[in-house]
Symmetry: D4
């Protein structure tokens, strides 16, 4: 119910001013006419509601997932899901679970509603958990994903062998730890948005991913933006938004 509707109901005598005021308060700030937000939430919930598993118990996750399942939701995405939570949820619901990235998806179904595909590129095998977090997130949000793994800058020929897949993507996610140089190289090759994800992979002066993060922020290639260390979910989410803006490349 929009503000204008509430006000017309008052004018029509269907609501007292007091009832109207309460309504305005109860339906937070959307009541002031921000229908778009409401609409967008509705839409978003139509696709799926994301459950952040990190700070929830197995039982809490199950309860939310069951409620969503009862509404007929598909691709219910659960991030940072611990194995014990997966075990519990898996007994009650149709759960896909990837222990590497700790992504769980209830009622998984491949739906491609995007404008093109998303390429997820990573430098080393150690980056795979974060890469998969990004890839599975993007898939659960309705995108086709092409994985291009293990193509670090110290072996450019492996990267070049995959250049057409990379350059054909609508959005590119680049996951890299250690020195984090891969997004700069990719950013110089493609003309699509590049989302860089530093990982905490490395040792010594890698400083838990800070080193890779700094590298990416200082990238000399235009078109590269950065998310937090190990934040594969965030990258997948942003990439999905861009891939759902409508139109084709």
């Amino acid at each position: 119910m929009k503000t204008i509707d509430i006000l017309q109901a008052v004018q029509a005598g269907k609501l007292t001013p007091q009832e109207a005021e309460l309504k305005l308060k109860m339906q937070p700030y959307q009541d002031i006419g921000f229908a778009k937000i409401d609409h967008h939430r509705a839409l978003r919930q139509g696709v799926q509601e994301v459950i952040y598993g990190a700070s929830k118990t197995a039982e809490q996750i199950l309860k939310i997932a069951q409620a969503m399942d009862a509404h007929g939701d598909k691709n219910i995405l659960i991030t940072r899901m611990k194995p014990e939570a997966a075990e519990l949820v898996g007994k009650k619901l149709d759960l896909f679970y990837d222990p590497l990235s700790k992504i769980g998806i209830v009622n998984r179904e491949f739906i491609d509603t995007g404008d093109g595909y998303i390429a997820v590129i990573s430098g080393g095998t150690g980056d795979q958990p974060v890469s998969e977090e990004a890839a599975l997130t993007a898939e659960a949000l309705g995108n086709r994903v092409e994985r291009v793994y293990d193509v670090g800058v110290a072996g450019l020929h492996r990267l070049f062998a995959k250049l057409d897949v990379i350059m054909g993507a609508r959005v590119v996610i680049v996951v890299a730890g250690m020195e984090g140089a891969l997004p700069s190289v990719i950013g110089g090759l493609v003309d699509t948005p590049v989302i860089a994800v530093p990982t905490s992979v490395g040792y010594g002066a890698s400083l838990g991913g800070i080193s890779a993060l700094l590298t990416m922020l200082n990238s000399c290639a235009s078109g590269v933006s950065v998310v937090n260390i190990d934040n594969g979910f965030g990258a997948g989410f942003i990439a999905s938004r861009i891939n759902h803006m409508g139109g084709s490349k």
Copy 2:
């Protein structure tokens, strides 16, 4: 000349293998069939070539700009242009120059080739140089820009009065210094990609923008990615890419 053409020329006897090898070397890696890159560079140069003014002398900038002007280029963008460079270039060419953001544009012409408009939002008056760098960059790259300035999180009512402009944008750039909290708030309101730009505005423990940068990387709102401190140009460039992907919201 593509690889296949070179090879056919060899087959046809028009090139000796030695001449062909030289050609392959001289026309870098594009020769191996990465026509897209070449094409994309051509396209990009067709719109404009960016001149990074920071490490160039006034004379160098002038020379490049004149060469581009001779090719009939419009909206020749010059970043971090010092006033003395602007003075020299302004005498010879049709230069727009904003001393605040140090952006110069030769043969400026408003062309809107984007899919929607880009909103550039900033928190305080001190953030304006970086905001304008982003806004003018985006305009020079063919985007319509809506500026929403001085709407910091400590006075949410000012932000809310502009919500329809913000929510109607195809991409949102949020520029903020000090505590850098604005992108998180915006990210919770819109469903479009948010590019966050930390600025070095602040004092004490703002650490030259590091504090704002960390805030943005840790944003609890999904859909926010970050560029380097004070990198208004980078944000405008990325936003333009997204706004030129085709399709409408």
Copy 3:
């Protein structure tokens, strides 16, 4: 015994100068006339003595608590109390224990001696341990507390639905991890002192709470002061002091 009393005893011949000098030494600096301190300690002990549980064994905690209990103390506050200490103390004394915040209170009794109430606001579910440390501390120190949890800046409508509770408080404690932006938003809404508590919740570049700490220190909202990372106790203690200054809002 105050300095003036000692001196008069000397004058009266009841004490030799040597005895008096010893007395002055033995009763530390309060003896020199700082009656207020003495008085204040007496008053404070009347309410309760705080037991810092972190560096004490279960037995040590029990012994102190029993001594205080023998004096008839109520609301004996124990911070950072490990479960094993709680188990031991709980067997001998009437202990309230919250395993989340690790706060223990012996002889808990709700006493409201404050001038108004304290609002404890937190951004995410992960911040709850620290929030409860603040809330339970404040309650044990004689304050009424209103909890407003899970109202992060990325979902302002939830925050707004609680605005009257927040704005009616005499002091506001804001607990937030990750990007730590909540105090800035709250600080712009209320006209009461805001105590900001950064938490170590987050990952990647949250740097164990440093990121949130910096955000809060750089808050563009006036009226915000900050305590150490995860220091819920400190925030509750300060808020209680302010809420016990006398007068009503």
Copy 4:
């Protein structure tokens, strides 16, 4: 005009729903019933509006100050005011200007509306600019201020000679650079809120105030909260809020 008034005007036919909706939008979120904010802003503006001089030109400062002066405002506070701005404003208005703290006050008038007095304590002569920023801010906001300067921890006797002034205050601001230990010592002596302000005074590993900031955050004394490095204004503002809560110690 409150929300309820707008709604009643609609019911009474004095406003069409469309006009009402516009009003609701134009008068930001205060319109939804948050009268307190409005009231508080009115009150605050009645006392004074703070002009942050750091990012404003001399002319801008003059214009704002003149507008406020035209409304009959007293104690118009200008922070971080550069000497050249002071020179310009001083020619047109009745300006008090302290070049050390860079605080300017137009139409200065000592008004004491506080519940008690605020003590501003500092450790070394180098801390005086920040101390005065705090003290003059508090005075301009209607507080009586007692200055206790040059009482560093390395000479406790000087501090002790002033203990009654310190202990009689309603709020204590402690300004210290270098090792920043003073707030811990003060915090152990008083039972009032202590606002600690680290300064950038020092050299070597003082790291521009970071060292003092860390010391204060880690204070072992309860009751100490901290503001940003060199933020004398913030400390004075918070102290004033606490000193205006009503009641007497």
Copy 5:
């Protein structure tokens, strides 16, 4: 055998130049006339050889200690000795072991060869392991030690009650974690060298002792020098050196 002796032996025909050269090589650089070093080593070994237990196995420690015991050494000091090593050594030798500081002393014997006594002062109970490492080290090296524990800056009266003990010492070791302010206060009270030891005690922004370290380095009190975080051994060693320089205060 000193250089001059070797040379005289050559002159006297008791050594060929070749034999002399070999001798000069075999007895490292002391051979060039640095008899003092040799002498000092001899003297030091006479008192005891320190065994750094951190990177040695229980067996290695035992073997070294037994060799020293066979030479009749007293007060054989073992630092960072793990409980399992203590158990093994304790079975074979007369071992004193303090599990808190992880200091082990074989053939302990109180010998006071110092010029005065060393005061070891600490702020909180959590600092005791490091304090004891310093105190036991100093004792093993032949010093009388006075312990003054639990006298933090937030309760100066406890510190003052012990002032004569502190001021009578020949060297003062001050151990403090959290904000690390104690050495500054002590440094302002005494006229003897103060060795400050930061500890890793604390949480939040204490940064594992870095905060206390910075405080101590920035001490405004003259006469304070600093050793590494948690380095109680180093402080005890230096204090012993100063206390063995000869002469009395």
Copy 6:
């Protein structure tokens, strides 16, 4: 097959241009004439392929090692090999395993193909794991290695007793933790390249090796370059490269 060969095959009609293009794509960028790389890879694989054990399972390591063994490879180097992997591989293949440095070598065979020998110098016993990683790496890559351990800067005579070994080396690797001063001292003594390896050995402000790293980067001795913290492998690899450049000192 080199580019020129492919082109000649086209000219000779043995390959169609299409087949040739495919070949060029399949054999990455080496196909464009970078025969050296190819050659060097061939050579390198002839000596051995390095298996990074850190992010591989025991099974993965075994599989790769078996494949290499089947090709008759000697000195198959496995870094950061966990004991459980060593146990598995040791059952199937002829494995040398050093649990300290976690280096495994399958089909170990001492081959000296270098121009001289490499000296590996370390300061303390705690640095031995990294030192051995460097030494065993260098040996597996065909170098003679001289180990000079436990010669820290605080006991120069031990270092001097080994000076001829150090000065006779063709390349010197210096491994040091704590203060990391050893490379500066060595760098002032020798005229060969010095590779410095900081280790994470130390405590307190050693910051996990950052302190030693900074020391080495700031070395006042010319001729010192640095690798990452604990990166013994990298140092051994670089030293081997230099020792295989041909020629003798």
Copy 7:
């Protein structure tokens, strides 16, 4: 007047208790019997009062120095004295001024009241300002000083040529920038206390002296304690204290 005297005056009827209490308050905590402090201050002032020139105007410095000169003081030490202050003071008083270290000494007179001499050792020419600050401070405080400059670790032979001077000192101050390794080497050679002073000399990752500071804190040599970056005065002051403890080596 000591506490006991005051008390006896009360007993004798020469003071009323009220007058006595006032006296006790006015003569801070020394009144409680800490005669040593008083004595020590008297003594210290007898030698000289240090004037910290950094935060004082030329006029302020002059006034203090003149007052001290009027009392017949010798060796009035002024640190961080700017040239313009030196010029002013030099016109009125007998001033020695070293522009390099910015040390000024009024009524300079070489007095040797120490137990031995102090060696000031530095690594590079760039360290000389700080070295001289230490040396001149020590001299002004009544010590004989031996300077051993330009003996960095990268050229040990220069250091060794001076070993007898170094080893004969009662206290050693070691000043070093860049990698700061010198104190570790010296600490391994001497058996006297070593005061290490990091300097801000260096570039790149020397981080304004932080790198040298960390090196010194992590020194593997026992007997080394550290003062703040560039704090030559502090080192000279501490060394003087140790050199005035009485007795001879």
Copy 8:
């Protein structure tokens, strides 16, 4: 004069033991038989002595250079030479001076005594001062240098066009600021030692070169070692050492 000679002189009665001892002291530790060092110094001085200009006055530089010139030295290298020093020296001696890198060379003469050539590669125009410092240093030390400038990772085709020059080098110096990714890419292409030099070029989170430094230390390519930020001289020096080891690739 070697140790053995001194000893024989004693035996022969040509030196008294006292005279011999003095000689041994005066001719530092080389006297004990480390003839190689002496020899190496002689050799090195034969080529040139490096004058560090940063901390020397123009007059000091001139004096040293003149003394060396009087000995007939060629290629006298002066680093970090300020323009005013260059002006003075240029008047008296035959000086080559590059104002960009601040390298001065007296009696410059191209001599190629190396085993191959050194490639100096840099990413951006802003890196040129450091690149030239490296290149001119290497040339002055007797190496042929090939410059490959402006080949950043964001435009790989420019790099590839120069691959044969890069791959033919005996040693490679890679200079890069901003994200510092270039050495990783180069390190993956060549089989020669790579010396990486981070530069302080960049802004925002480049942290004065720390970001590039960390990237390089974390390089995933083997064979890369690193020198300090902006230390072009150090890189040139090391590269020269390697290029003078004898033998050819």
